[in-house]
Symmetry: D2
Subunit: 455 residues, 4 copies
C-alpha cells in the first residue's frame, strides 16, 4: 500500500488492479481459450488442462515481466514467453496450443474487461451501502427543516430528507448504469492479429462463442480491438458517478462549515486534526472524496481522446488506456468506499438547521408572502412590494414579518394570522414529501433487501 492509497483508493478494488491481478486476468483469458478450444475439438482436453493448470500468476516472475515489457511493447508478450516455458516444462505437447489463434491485444483487452467486471461489482456493493444509508437518512429526516440555498444564498425552506432523496435518486440511476455496463460494455474481445481470427480458419466464431461462455462474458457481433467506445463508455459512466460524489462531498463540506454547522463528520480521536491547531476537526473524508472525484473528469477526457487510434491497432492511444482506465476505476472506488463509510456515521445537527432558517430574519419567506399577495395584486406588483419590504428589513435590521405587518398595502390583503402562517417553514414545503416518497419507493424496489433481523 502506497502512502496515499488509503486516502484516494479502496481496499476492495486495489487488489483487483495489482500487478498479480493484471497477470492473472491475462492468464484467465489464456486458460479459458484453451478450454474453449478443447470443447470445440481443436485441441485435446489434456492440453487444455495442462495450459489451465499453468495459468496461475503465482508461478510467474513479475520482476522479469516488468523488465521485459518495455522492449516488447506490451505485457502479454513476455508473459506468454513465461507461460510457454511453464507449459513446456510440464506438458510439451500442449505447448503448441498456448495462445492459439489469439493476439496479445485479445488477452490484454479481455483481461482488462475481467478486471473491470470485478471492480464494477465491488463498486456496486459500495453503491448499495451508500443507497441504504441515504434511504435511512431520507426516512429519518424527511421532515427535518433545512434552508435550501441557491447561489450560496439562503432561498426557501426545504427538508434535509428532500436533499438526501435527490442524492439517493442519483445513485439509483448510477446502479442502473453499472448494470447496463456489465451487460453491454464489458464484453469479450477475441479477434486474432487483425480482428479476423484468421489463424483459426473457419472455426473462429465457434471458438469465440465457447470462449465467451467459459468467461461468462457477452459476445459482441464483431471484435472491438480498434473501436474502444465500450471502454470509453465505462470510463464515462464512472465519471458520472464520480461527479455525483464530488457534488455530495462538496455539499457535505459546505454544510460542515464552521458558520453553517448543520452536519459534521463523526468525531474520533486523531481524526481530522491539525499539526499545530489543537481545536481543528477537519472533514477529511469529504476532502478525500472530493479530491479523488475531481481527478476523474480529466482522465475520462483522456480516454475519449484515445478513441482516435490508428487503423486496426493504434500506436499510443491504446497504450494510454493501460493505466488511465484502471486509475479511473480506482479513484471512483476510493470515493465510493469513503462515502459508504461516512454516510451511516454522519452527524446531523437538526437544531442548527432549524436555527439557520431564522438567520435572514424572515427574508426566506418572501416568496410565500409575494405569492399570497398575488392572489389580489398582479404578480409583478406583489414581487416588487415584497422586494421593497425585504430591502427595508435588511436596512433597518428588522424581521420581515414586522416590516410587512406595518405595511398598509399588505395588511389590506393579509390578516395577521395569515402573515404568521406564511412565516412557518413547515407550511411551505409544497410537494417535497411526495417527491421523497417517490424516490424511497424506487429505492425499495431496486435495492437488494437486507436480510431480515437487520433492517
Amino acid at each position: 500500500m502506497h502512502l496515499l492509497d488509503g486516502f484516494f483508493r479502496s481496499p476492495s478494488v486495489e487488489p483487483l488492479f495489482s500487478d498479480a491481478a493484471a497477470v492473472q486476468a491475462i492468464l484467465d483469458f489464456e486458460a479459458a481459450l484453451a478450454r474453449a478450444q478443447a470443447r470445440g475439438g481443436l485441441i485435446s482436453g489434456s492440453a487444455a488442462a495442462a495450459i489451465t493448470s499453468s495459468c496461475r500468476a503465482d508461478l510467474f516472475d513479475l520482476p522479469s515481466l516488468a523488465q521485459a515489457m518495455p522492449a516488447a511493447g506490451n505485457l502479454a508478450i513476455p508473459l506468454l514467453k513465461q507461460l510457454n516455458a511453464i507449459v513446456g516444462r510440464n506438458s510439451p505437447d500442449a505447448l503448441r496450443y498456448v495462445h492459439f489463434g489469439a493476439t496479445s491485444q485479445d488477452a490484454l483487452d479481455t483481461g482488462l474487461v475481467l478486471q473491470l467486471r470485478n471492480a464494477t461489482r465491488a463498486i456496486e456493493n459500495d453503491l448499495n451501502a451508500i443507497a441504504a444509508a441515504l434511504v435511512q437518512l431520507t426516512e429519518t429526516h424527511r421532515r427535518t427543516l433545512l434552508v435550501a440555498r441557491t447561489w450560496l444564498q439562503q432561498a426557501l425552506p426545504t427538508t434535509f430528507g428532500y436533499v438526501t432523496a435527490g442524492w439517493l435518486d442519483a445513485f439509483l440511476q448510477h446502479r442502473k448504469r453499472l448494470e447496463d455496463q456489465l451487460e453491454n460494455s464489458l464484453v469479450l474481445q477475441f479477434g486474432g492479429a487483425a480482428g479476423t481470427l484468421a489463424a483459426l480458419g473457419d472455426r473462429g466464431t465457434q471458438i469465440a462463442k465457447l470462449l465467451a461462455e467459459e468467461l461468462v462474458l457477452p459476445l459482441p457481433r464483431i471484435p472491438w480491438h480498434a473501436q474502444r467506445e465500450r471502454i470509453a463508455e465505462t470510463a464515462a459512466t464512472l465519471g458520472l458517478l464520480s461527479g455525483t460524489m464530488a457534488k455530495i462531498s462538496r455539499d457535505l463540506s459546505l454544510y460542515m462549515q464552521t458558520e453553517v454547522g448543520e452536519l459534521s463528520e463523526p468525531p474520533s480521536t486523531g481524526r481530522g486534526g491539525s499539526s499545530t491547531m489543537p481545536h481543528k476537526q477537519n472533514p477529511v473524508a469529504c476532502a478525500a472524496i472530493l479530491a479523488s472525484a475531481s481527478r476523474v473528469p480529466a482522465l475520462v477526457s483522456t480516454v475519449l481522446s484515445g478513441l482516435a487510434g490508428e487503423y486496426q491497432r493504434s500506436l499510443g492511444a491504446w497504450q494510454s488506456e493501460w493505466e488511465v482506465v484502471p486509475e479511473i476505476v480506482r479513484l471512483t472506488a476510493g470515493g465510493t468506499n469513503q462515502l459508504a463509510a461516512l454516510l451511516p456515521r454522519l452527524t446531523v445537527h437538526s437544531e442548527k438547521m432549524r436555527t439557520n432558517l431564522d438567520l435572514t430574519h424572515g427574508l426566506i419567506y418572501g416568496e410565500a408572502v409575494s405569492l399570497a399577495l398575488s392572489e389580489k395584486l398582479n404578480r409583478a406588483s406583489a414581487h416588487k412590494l415584497v422586494e421593497s419590504a425585504c430591502r427595508s428589513a435588511q436596512f433597518e435590521k428588522r424581521h420581515l414579518r414586522a416590516v410587512l405587518s406595518e405595511d398598509a398595502d399588505v395588511t389590506a390583503i393579509l390578516k395577521p394570522e395569515n402573515i404568521a402562517s406564511l412565516f412557518e417553514p413547515a407550511n411551505y414545503l409544497g410537494s417535497a414529501g411526495t417527491f421523497i416518497e417517490a424516490v424511497l419507493a424506487a429505492a425499495r424496489e431496486q435495492l437488494p433487501q437486507k436480510p431480515s433481523g437487520k433492517g
Copy 2:
C-alpha cells in the same frame, strides 16, 4: 453564420441553438406551463391562451435581453420581464399566471432539454445517413482486399468491408445510446425555487405531470436542478460519438496519405487546394471532422467537473453548462454532418489496396506460414524460424516466399503449392465474412428502411 461555422458546425443543428431558438425554448416551457395549469384547473383557459400566444420569440427584443442578462445573472429573468410586458399589454388578467410556480432554472433547464431533443433527432438523421453509407461500403467491399495495419505497420490481410463493418457497428451502438438518451436523460425539470414546488401548494406534482404531457417529455421522480448527471450523460454520449468520428476521420486521413493512397476525398474544383501549391488536394472534410471531434473530450470533462455544484443551485458550475453543452452538441453535429456528406462520395482505390498488400514482399504472410509450420513444429520454433526468414528477406531484399522455398526446414514440411497458397491473401481472412454479415444483419434490423425506389 460565422466564418468557421461551415467547417465546424452543422446547418441542421445551428438554428436550434441560435439566440432566437434559446428564447423560444424557454417560451415553449412557459406556454406549456400555462396550458398545464389550465388543464389542472389552476388558471383559466383564456389566461393560458393569452400566455401561449405571447410566447413567440419574434415578439421579443433580443438585444435588450443580451444587455440585461449579465446583471440579472440568467436569461430567464429579463425574458420574463419582457413576457410580462407583452402579456400585460394583451391580457392583463393573465399576467399573474405567467411563470406561475416555476423558477428561472425550470425554464432554462427544460428549455435546454427541448433544444437537446431536437438536436438529438437531427444527429440521429445524420447517423442514419452515415450508417446507410457504411452499409453500402461494407456490402460493396466485403471482399476488397486490404492490409490490416497495427502500430502503423502492415500486419495481415483483411478486407475494406471488414474495416467499415467495424465502423458501422460503432454507429449502431451510438444510435441506441441516443435513443436511451431521449428516454432517460432528456426529461422535464420543474421544481420551483428550491425544488419543492412550494408555490403550487399541494398541486405541484399534478401540474408537473400535465406539464410533462404538454411537452411530451418524460417526468422524473424528483426535480434534478441540483443533480446534473442527466445533462452530463448527454454530454458524455456525444463525447463517445465524437470519439468514433475522430477515429474514422483519422483512419480516413491515413488511408488518404500520398504514400498509402487507398482512399481519397471526392475531387472537386477548388476543394482542398493550397494558396501556393497547385498540386494540392487536401482531405479537408477529414480535417474538419477530426478538428471538431478532438475538441469535444475536454468539453465533456468540463461538464463532468461541473457536477460538483453547490447545494440546491450552484454558483458557477450550472452557469458553465450554458454554452458548453450546446457547444458539445454543435461540434458533434458538425462532425456527423461532414461525415454523412463524405462517406457516400468516398473514392475507394481498391487496386491500390491490392498493390499495397505486396509492399512487404510477403512478410505479412509470416503468421500464416508460421501457423502452417506449427502443425509439425512447436509454435515457438515455427515462430522463430519464420522470424529469421523474415529478417533474411528484408536484409537480402527478397520475397519471403523465395527465402522460405529455399529453407530445407520449411520444405520438409510444406510443399511448393502449399507455400504458394499461404501467400494468397484471400485465403487468410478467417471469420471476416461472418463478422461482416453479423453487423450487416444488425444494421438491417435497426436502421430505418429507405422508401422503395430509392435504395
Copy 3:
C-alpha cells in the same frame, strides 16, 4: 452580441475576435508582407501600396468567405481570392505580388498572433485595474481582522488585507507572464509552404526580418508552423490567470454566503434578483467569473493535446486551435473584465468579519494558547491539553477561555492577563503586516502610476 456574451465575455476583447477582425488580421499580414518586400527590393513600392490599400476588411464579402471556407479548408484561401480580385481591379500589376512567398498558414498564424497581442494588452489593462483595486483593498484592510479558514473550518485570525495581498501577489506574477508572452511567444510566423521560404529563393530570411519589423513582432530563429508550443504556452498562461480568477471568485462567493456575510456584491436595482424570490441578491458577478474561468482548463488541455500534429502541417490538430485559442482568450478576458468592475465596488462588512471571529467561542485561539503553554510543557503535551480543553468547551458550550481559566495545569503556567491577551486576535498576526508591505512595495514598483490627481 449574443445573449450570453455580456456574462462570459469582455467588451474590450470581443471586437478583436469578430469575423471582421480575423479577416483584418490576415490582411495586416498580407499588407505588411508587401511592404517588407518593397523595402527589400523584391517588389515595387507602388505594388506594395496598391496591396496595402486593398487590405481593408470592409472591402471584403464575409458571407462569401464563410460559404467558401469549408471546401477550401482554411480561411486564407478564399480571402486571398477576394484580395486578388480587389487588387486586380485597382492595380493589375500588383496582382502577382499578393501573398508572394507566403502560405496560408503564415497569414493565419501571424494573424492570430496579432489578435493575441491586442487581446493581451486589453487583458493587461484589466489586470492593472484589478491590481489597483487590490492595492486599495489591501491598504485599507491591512489591519481589518478576519478569521482564516482552512478545510472550510475556522482556523486562526488573519486580516482581510493579508488575504487580498495574496491575490494581488498572484496578479503581479500574471502581469510578468503576460509581458514574457508578448516578448517570447507572440512572434512572427513566416515560412512559406513547407517552412523553408523556398519561393523566395535566397531572400527569405531578409524578407522575414523586414516583415517582423513592419508588424513590430519578434522574429524567431526558425518558422514554428509545425511546433505550436508558443501558442500552447499562451493558452497555458491564460489558464493560470483564469485559475486565479476562479480562486478569487470562489472565495468571494464563500465570503458572501448568507451564513458568512463578510462581503457582498454592490447592491443595485434588479441585479442578482430571482424570478420568484423577492429577497434574493445573488452574487452574479462571482458566478460569471467562476463560470467563465472554470471552462478554461479543459480548453488548455485541448491546445496541449493539439501539439501532437503531424509532420509540417497537421490535419485536425492545427485546425482545432482556430476557435479554441480565441475562446480561451475571450473567456479569460470575460473574467478579468468582470473582476475589474467588481473589486472597486466590493462591499466589505468588517464588523461581520470581527463578529465571526467569535463564532467558535475562542477555539481559534487554541494554537496561541498551546504555544504559550509549550514554553513550559513540551509541545505534544501542550497540544493535547488544549485539544482536550477545546473538546470540553464544545461539549459544554462554553468559551475556551473560561474552560482554560479553570484548569489548574494552565493557570500554573499562565496568569489571567496572559490568558486574556492570548484571546486577542490582533496579538496573533505574526508577520502578516510584513508580508503585506512586501507585496504592496512590489505592486508600487511594477504597476503603472496613475496620473496625478487621480490616485
Copy 4:
C-alpha cells in the same frame, strides 16, 4: 517497479517520487527549519542537531504512515508523530522545537518543491541528451533531402535536418522554461497555520529567510499555500514539453510506417515483436512516448482546475495535487527518458527519403514551376495553369515534367533546361540552410559542452 513503469516512466525520476523520497523531502524541510531556527537564535544548536539527525526516512515506519494518513487527512501529521517519537527518544529537550512555527502544508508543499527541483534537474539531463542527439542529426542531415508533408499529403522538398532543427529549437525553448521554473516557481513555502507565521511572533520573516537559505530555495514575497499558480505553472511547463514529445513521437511513427519507411527504431532481438506475427517490428519506443505524453494534457487541466481552492487552505483541491503533480512529472520524464535513448540510435533511411520524393511523379514541384511561370504570367494564371497540368499528370499517370514540356504556354516561357532545374529538389530549399544554422548556433551557445575528446 510496477509492470508498466519501464514503459511509462523513467529510472532517474521514479526514485524521487517513491514513498521514502516523499517522506525524506518532508523531513528535509523539518531539519532545515530546525537549523534555520538555531541560526536565528530561536532554538539551540544541539536541538537543531538532534532534530536533523532524526530526519532520516529510513528511521520511519512507512506502513504505519500509510495506515494513519487517511484519518489524519495529510501525510505530515502522522509523520510528525513518528518524528516526535524519534526525537523524544534521543533528545527529549529538542522535542518542543520539532516543526516549530510551521504547519503541515509548509512541510508538504516545500517537500514537493524539493522533489520537483530534483526531478527538473533529471529532466534537464534528458533534455541535454535529446538536444545533443538532435544537434547530431541536424548536422548530419542538414542536406538530406526529404519531402515535407502537409495535411498528410506530400507538399514540397525540405531536408531531414530542417525537420530535426525544428524539434531542436523546441527543446532549446523548453530548457529555458525549466530554468525559469527553477528560479521562479520552485520556491519555499513557509507560512504557518494561516500563512501569517503567527506562531513565530515577530521572527517569522527572519526565520523564513534563513530557511530558504538552508534549502537553497528562492524566498517568495508572501506565502503561497492558498495561491497554487506556481505549482500549476510547473505542471503547464511540463505539459508543453510533453506536447513536443507527443509531436515528435507521432512524426517518428509516421516516418516509420511501412508505406513511408524513412525512419526506423533500431532493430534488436525481441524488440517490438508480436505474439503471433513473426515479421513484426513495432516502433515501441514511439508508442511509449506518445502514450505517456498524451496523458499529460488532461492532468494539467486537473491542476489548473484545482487553483480554485477555498480560502486559506482548500478542501479537495489541494489534496488532488498530491498524486497528480508527481504523475505529470513522472510521465513527462518517462517520455524524455525514452526519447533520449531513441534519438541517438534512430535509423535514418535517406535513400528511402529520396525515393519518396519521386512518388508523386513531379507534382511536388508544382509550386516551383508556378512561381517560375509567374515571372511572366500573373500569379493566379500561373497557379491555374500548373494546377491543370497536375490534374492531367495524375489522370494520365505521367510525370508532371512531361506534361509541362508539351504545354505551349509553358514552353513559351521556360526552356527545357529551366524546367529540368525546377524538378531538382536541392534547388528548392530556400532558407532551410540558414534556419538550420541559426538553430545550431543557438544550441551551441546554450547546451553544456561535452568534455573534449567526446564531441
